[in-house]
Subunit: 385 residues, 2 copies
Amino acid sequence: MSTTVRQSKPLAGSDLGRQERGWNFGPGPAYLPEEVIREAQDALWHFGRTGMGIAEISHRDPLFLRLLEGLEERIRRLLQLPDSHTILFMAGGAKPHFSLIPLNLSRPHRRRAAYALTGYWSRLARAEASVLIQAEVAAEISTRGNPEHPTVIPDPAQWALPEAIDYLYYTDNESIDGIEFAAPPVREGVCLVSDMTANLFSRPIPHLDTFDLIFAGAQKNLGITGLAIVILRKEALGGSLEGWPRYLLYQEWMTHHSMVNTPPTFNLYLADLMARWMEKEGGLVALAARNRKKADLLYAAIDQSGGFYRNGISPTCRSRMNVPFRLADEDQTPRFLEMAAGAGLVQLAGHHSVGGCRASIYNAMPETGVRQLSEFMREYQRTAG
Amino acid sequence: MSTTVRQSKPLAGSDLGRQERGWNFGPGPAYLPEEVIREAQDALWHFGRTGMGIAEISHRDPLFLRLLEGLEERIRRLLQLPDSHTILFMAGGAKPHFSLIPLNLSRPHRRRAAYALTGYWSRLARAEASVLIQAEVAAEISTRGNPEHPTVIPDPAQWALPEAIDYLYYTDNESIDGIEFAAPPVREGVCLVSDMTANLFSRPIPHLDTFDLIFAGAQKNLGITGLAIVILRKEALGGSLEGWPRYLLYQEWMTHHSMVNTPPTFNLYLADLMARWMEKEGGLVALAARNRKKADLLYAAIDQSGGFYRNGISPTCRSRMNVPFRLADEDQTPRFLEMAAGAGLVQLAGHHSVGGCRASIYNAMPETGVRQLSEFMREYQRTAG
């Protein structure tokens, strides 16, 4: 086992007051809506009137196939996806797609793409792509900004793109660095590919028709780990891929409607519950407004702390999903995290590669949870700081 | 969506009597012990005293890392695994390993292995391997046996193995054809690789030290879909694999203790519950005895039906996990399945590639369920046949 661990102390029951569950700011696995959990609990025991639980029913059962079709339709509606694009569900997380994308989308005689490096995940994606193709740098920013010289994404219109690329890859939201694109870096005649793992479904996506591919791990806004969603322009697939294992080919997944092998049925069920929940909450426009408000609350708590809490990202590209912050006195971080957990505010540690703190506030986190965190931050500064 | 569907009619509540759950003979996704489901329901809401549910806790949280370590230790104990072998947990099912095995285990200057073709899955495994290496046939049997000329696996000592192979691949249990090896086909100086998806943990594995690799999807005896387990002799890995995506390399998974990316945490949790349950039930020796008895009951119901139900596999290699059978009058199959479902005996349809009926009776299926099926079969023959 890895020895790097995240902060999460067991809580005394009384600390959480009347509810057994704290406010969970984990980056993914992440907080789930309580009504979704309640429904999943029931379904584990019996799914409809089948005499089976949802984890025990065949992926070829008509009921399950209807669930999958419904999930796809709901996602189409939520995103307003054009017919030119298909939706694939694949087991595993987002990372395999760092390799699958260059493999499947690069043309045999070109094998060249451009990568915008705006944080941890885009750098990793480029490194994996470099095993397979020529992965050029479209833009690169320092993520070590500070309140005086904040990190900013330069205007995509100014990026120096190489000639003849198969696609322009960017990470719409860098969940570790807390950096998010305000809008897709649309460039004339360039197909976009984007890792939206941490912000898919958090707002409508403009210019959807300029995307060859969008992918995301499910464990942020679409349920739990073990599932990835791929949104693919059907005509984007490159040339022949002889000599490669068939299960690595998006074409296979398209042909077999995401059933190249037994799919992760429970994980897909959770995704469907989340999609239903998003529709019930008003869809992506409503969720986007709520997410904007939550993020504003939290950045205000940071910016109004007089430097006690610090975030080094320019407001123009601060993430609405993942809010990293540091205490000016970094030695206090473990104490801050411990006291927060004691107050029922859990999984606030920053990624192990950067340390500090991070509050992930995906769709499921209500404004109440964010307000409690903001209040705790002010109170901590007043009494303990 | 695929249009091929499995039989599973919704049940009237009253049909199931006092329990809401039927006896589920699905091949995987499969029946789970009721106490495992009850515990998973609780854990979805709160996992220990963390203030979070099991699907919401970080994979790097100390509690989750302990769970993973405990799972590995339990599997080691259950299988009596030697230290020479490591255990990997990977997202997705068993099928990707049809490609990963030849990729990772074949030596650069050899790239040749032998495959025993004893059913659907071994033939598919060879087809996938042939994309990458020279996959020779070690043995091939007809799976279209009948009670007069039953299918039999020829003595492995007589198989004509090619020279200089990297491994001998076989499918310990063919879940569609209902064929199982009585013992591993051990040959002097030959490393074994086996797909044990459908029977891993159903009995002790003799000659474990002759195996380079054993793999299995979890959805039979280790929980739910979306997870595979790989048992690997550490020294079995072949040569350089430059130019291949890193996440396809078993070495990477070994180095990172199954954390190459965010693992399917809920699926791993279910695997741990199942491993605990197996230990509580007395381990693999006790489970093997129970499984033998269950299979004997069911084959007796078939063999004593005077040809009304038929199974064409020799008793020497009949699967103890998956019992396929056909009605002599095949036109009755839909009615048989419908009436069985009405009696709370669900997911009895055969695989869509072969039709007929199939009862999968993994560890979790109690003898009571098998007895009820046997009685239903006799009653159906008496009243409806």
